[in-house]
Symmetry: C2
Subunit: 325 residues, 2 copies
């Protein structure tokens, strides 16, 4: 049995999509147990493997993260994190306020001893459909070279355990492929990564080749990572919008649109990174998964599955043994 | 008369595309004079308003920038920059090694007194077709908040003079729109920009809204700017590739492709940032324009026109008076 704590109240479409996803997950996985945290008046779900716990508060999407976690002790998110901290659950999932979830991870679940800073990890699509692990996408805006080195160590384990790549290649996001390229942070990080032999360092990776399977894991600081993540999303959306407008701009084009509709949807699915699961906060002493923002039930479901796999693959234990003190 | 110095030897397709562009430019603009620097054996162009100067060396795309400029004194790029320095030409254009051109700008043309660091500026497309000014895209990988403030001042003048926007909005690229968001650099820069009244500060701009006319000018450090520039290019290219593959994947889709071919090409043209001219190195005591990398004759031609407009609009003089000491 794997026990996962779930925040019923987080996300724009909560609790409906959360309940839909949890219902599907307990039916699909016979070895899954869930502790559901939220407002009991809104909980319509009854199942022998779901335990419900009422919480009197919830954290809003625009709450100030650290303050929300410190003050709203009886919020569904804080209590979900408590359940991981005290060992009742092996992992937790929320679609709520990302900053608050990171604070809950940091202040309630806590870091693995020896990990300087946790990193937020996503799996992003590539044109081949393979995808790559990208981190840090915003846990820490400022980072030092030693932090990037540790992100790489964490990402190495994540790719091995979660994506089942035996010897994942780890790239450093940079503005050129040559060793001497970059700002002072990436130059120092390049040096540190070249010197170690724990993981397969693939050198610098440029932002233009991210979608072309440049490396299995790409590491950067949280400021740059968050920027690139949003830029990828925004650019794909803007280009998609222009194509759509073109396909609606004349009768002739509408016919063309009908002809390729199904295949275009397939491309869109391939590019939809909710398909690859949620974001994981790595380096914590427990599994904390963030289901993607405007989460659908499908995205929340894959985040639950992701948390379950992470527990089964003993990702936290492995990180504690290899990266921790 | 406007006199522009041109590097005949720079770029992958040199000197052919350079000669084609220069020929068109002197025919289109009756008030344009050109000094052409290069290997005389390869120069097939004769025109009363073109003066040719033979150079015995050229700078390769993979030459180490600073060393190349310091050692290859008789290269077409170094001598072109000398012509600006000594006042023979009012501006210069090259499609060669970007780093070497920045070094030529910095070490030969020189900075405006009072400008701490020059910035590399591009105009990027937006889905509306309006476009925006983006800087620094790589002149300086590391920057301080005061540098970003000065980039904003330079960008303000550039947008006024070159894009003819009377009161351009200036945004700071950041990972959130709120004032407290970002790394230490952007937090400090936000503070400095909020306090001044020289330009219209539009606050933080997120990478996801860059293509949606978020601001007339968007300012960032050279590391982030270069990263975003390459990511925009790479993402657009990868998505384009996937669409193309879809349109070739079946007979039905090929027919659809034929129906929308012309309109898709229009979208592509709108997204082609070579259409918006080259990159300009702002903050130097003369106009230095970099025609885009895999330059076509059309792109080189628009870079020449851009240099000419910059001279006519007295961009350097205005920067000297307002930003300089």
């Amino acid at each position: 049995m794997v026990k996962i704590a779930i925040d019923m109240m987080g996300g724009d479409e909560a609790p409906d999509i959360v309940l839909e996803a949890v219902s599907k997950a307990v039916n699909d996985f016979k070895d899954l147990e869930v502790i559901l945290f939220g407002n009991e008046e809104q909980c319509t779900l009854r199942h022998p493997r779901i335990e419900f716990r009422h919480c009197s508060e919830e954290i809003a999407m625009d709450d100030e993260p650290v303050r929300a976690i410190k003050r709203k002790k009886d919020s569904s998110m804080a209590r979900m994190a408590e359940a991981v901290k005290n060992g009742e659950a092996a992992g937790c999932v929320s679609a709520g306020n990302t900053g608050a979830l990171m604070s809950a991870g940091l202040f309630i679940v806590g870091r693995i001893k020896g990990v300087a800073r946790p990193a937020l990890v996503v799996t992003l699509p590539t044109t081949s459909g393979k995808g790559f692990v990208f981190m840090d996408v915003g846990a820490n805006a400022d980072a030092k070279a030693e932090h990037l080195l540790q992100y790489a160590q964490l990402g190495h384990i994540y790719a091995q355990k979660f994506r089942r790549i035996a010897n994942p290649s780890i790239g450093l996001l940079n503005i050129g492929t040559e060793a001497a390229k970059g700002n002072s942070l990436t130059k120092n990080a390049y040096h540190l990564m070249s010197e170690q032999s724990e993981f397969n360092f693939a050198g610098n990776v440029e932002a233009k080749s991210l979608m072309e399977d440049a490396a299995d894991v790409v590491v950067t600081d949280g400021y740059t990572g968050n920027m690139i993540l949003k830029n990828l999303e925004g650019t794909a959306k803007s280009i998609g919008k222009m194509f759509k407008e073109t396909l609606l701009s004349s009768f002739k084009n509408k016919i063309a649109g009908l002809l390729i509709k199904k295949d275009l949807q397939e491309v869109q699915t391939k590019m939809d990174y909710a398909e690859y699961g949620g974001s994981v906060l790595l380096g914590l002493d427990g599994i904390v998964v963030k289901a993607h923002g405007s989460s659908s039930a499908k995205a929340f479901y894959s985040a639950i599955r992701q948390a379950k796999i992470a527990v089964e693959e003993r990702i936290v234990e492995t990180m504690r043994e290899t990266v921790g003190e």
